[in-house]
Amino acid sequence: MILWVKRVSAVANGTLLLTLLFFQGHPKVALLAAALNLGWAINERMPSSLGKFLPSTGLVVNTGLSAYGILAGAPAGYAVLVAVVSLVSWNTSLFLERWPDAPRAVQYLYLRRLGGLVALGMGAGLSALALQGSYSLPFPLALSAVVISGLLWLRLISGAIEKER
């Protein structure tokens, strides 16, 4: 299951970066970034030296390209989305490398935890952009985003407290 999460997120990354950079007028860089992310989607089938090297490289490259996109004038929300999806691909790759045959229950637990963190990261990034006036969100959407973020935070905090007990 996690393998497919990693593959889908890596392909999504490639597509997002392709469109982000293509419309900024860098088709060659866009193609290279897409190729890197497509390679990342199947890194477990590559020779181990290259396969292990790819997630970290992918994360650094994607982050750099997201930052470049922002500086080049691309929509900042789009760049945050690329960064967050990169983090998903990277962390799932790490998990698969560490524990390729994890039981289903552990996979669910991991995905819930990663999902919570990703939602928080995305929410925090977009909220920061919204605070800076980059977005004018309609009121119902802003309210539901705040409520969902709040619930997730509460859940995380209560989970940590329970573990501590």
Partner: protein, 418 residues
């Protein structure tokens, strides 16, 4: 913290500093998801670990291809842990069947078992302990511990049961054995006749000879006694042939063990000298205890180089009783002829069991013309060595290591009385 955590922390820091330096709020916003990944590992409580470790590798000594069973029990005496990876560190050179590695969640008070079988080539293996790695599910926090749990596994060489090796040293010991002593006395083999002396057993009278000489003639029999046997294992590195993970020296070790066991079973006094790195001398002795000593010495035997022991001429002959039986286990070099002839001249009986290095190496080479020519040339050289030794009265057993030692010995000793 793990390297992954450092990577994310580094990226968040770079983005944050870039945002500040360029006064770009969007870059600061981009840094936030990375910052969350960095901080989440501080938020979650650090697992404190307390372990109890038990288990062993049994039996502590295994022979040849017999497997040893490794079992380790690790009990978590601390809190429950989400992601624990544990690996029993296996010394290099051992083959593992089963899993010395386990990965998974580890509940409080729970005991995990690592169970595997190991086989290996001759030697002594030290198991240092267990490596445990505890991390969170996101892989951002990690702690590695090494739990020392030393264990030892000794893989003994496996000998072969051989029979009917006929030796006849000039001097034997006083104890009864199976070696013909060239002296008359109680025995079964006919030795000669002499005039009857009152007190001789009447059943030993030789009536035919008595009728011819008109005298009472008594048959004499040859005494059978125990002998001193010195086994010399050639451990000089220059005689070692190693290819495709196979070693000629290993074969020599097994052959030396087989011979030692045989001679000890026959009631002889056997000593062992491993000649290579230095002189590893096992003092001569009898019986099962001596067999165990020789086994221990052969388990540790390694081929080595020493400028002094390049040739057999430095062999300390004082270790071996005069006129006793010497058994060399050696692939032989050209310069070994002279020292062996010298030993023979000193009155020792010399038997050389020579594992054939050419046959051993040929199996591992492609069958082409170059190999055939090389083999022919080496064969000529080897035959010259063997012929010179045979002429000097050295008994030779040439052994192709691809066939059982027993077969070569039977072929060599077929039809010999002494």
């Amino acid at each position: 913290m793990t390297r992954s955590w450092s990577l994310v922390a580094g990226l968040s820091l770079v983005l944050f500093l870039m945002g500040l330096f360029l006064k770009n709020g969007a870059l600061l916003a981009l840094a936030l998801p990375y910052l969350l990944f960095t901080l989440v590992s501080f938020w979650r409580p650090r697992p404190e670990t307390r372990w109890r470790l038990e288990g062993n590798v049994e039996p502590g000594q295994i022979q040849g291809d017999q497997p040893g069973q490794g079992t380790l029990f690790l009990t978590n005496e601390g809190k429950a842990l989400e992601d624990v990876s544990m690996t029993d560190e296996i010394p290099p050179g051992l083959k593992v069947e089963g899993n010395p590695h386990q990965h998974g969640g580890f509940g409080a008070g729970q005991t995990q078992t690592l169970s595997y079988k190991v086989t290996g080539v001759r030697g002594r293996y030290e198991f240092p302990g267990l490596r445990v790695r505890v991390s969170d599910l996101l892989g951002l926090y990690g702690k590695e511990e090494f739990l020392p749990w030393p264990r030892t596994l000794t893989v003994l060489p496996k000998g072969e049961r051989v029979k009917k090796i006929k030796i006849s040293p000039r001097r034997t010991r006083v104890y009864t054995g199976v070696i013909r002593s060239r002296e008359s006395g109680p025995g079964v083999e006919f030795f000669g006749t002499r005039a009857y002396v009152p007190g001789d057993p009447l059943r030993h009278l030789n009536w035919k000879a008595g009728a011819r000489w008109d005298l009472l003639i008594t048959n004499l029999f040859e005494q059978e006694r125990a002998a001193d046997v010195g086994i010399i294992l050639d451990a000089r590195k220059r005689t070692e042939v190693r290819a495709n993970g196979e070693s000629l020296f290993e074969r020599s070790v097994r052959a030396a063990l087989s011979l030692a066991d045989y001679f000890l079973d026959e009631g002889n006094r056997v000593g062992l000298l491993i000649y290579g790195r230095f002189l590893e001398w096992t003092f001569p002795g009898y019986g099962k205890r001596q067999s165990a000593k020789i086994l221990a010495a052969l388990t540790q035997a390694e081929p080595g180089d020493h400028p002094v022991f390049q040739e057999f001429k430095r062999l300390p002959t004082r270790l071996f009783p005069p006129q006793s039986q010497l058994v060399f286990v050696s692939p032989l070099l050209q310069e070994d002829v002279h020292p062996l002839r010298y030993l023979r001249a000193m009155g020792y009986r010399v038997l050389v069991l020579s594992p054939d290095p050419i046959a051993f190496e040929k199996r591992l080479l492609p069958e082409d013309e170059i190999t055939a020519v090389a083999e022919r040339m080496l064969r000529f050289e080897r035959q010259a060595i063997l012929a010179r030794l045979l002429r000097a009265g050295v008994r030779m057993v040439e052994w192709d290591p691809s066939e059982p030692l027993r077969v070569s010995l039977e072929r060599s000793f077929k039809g010999t009385k002494r």
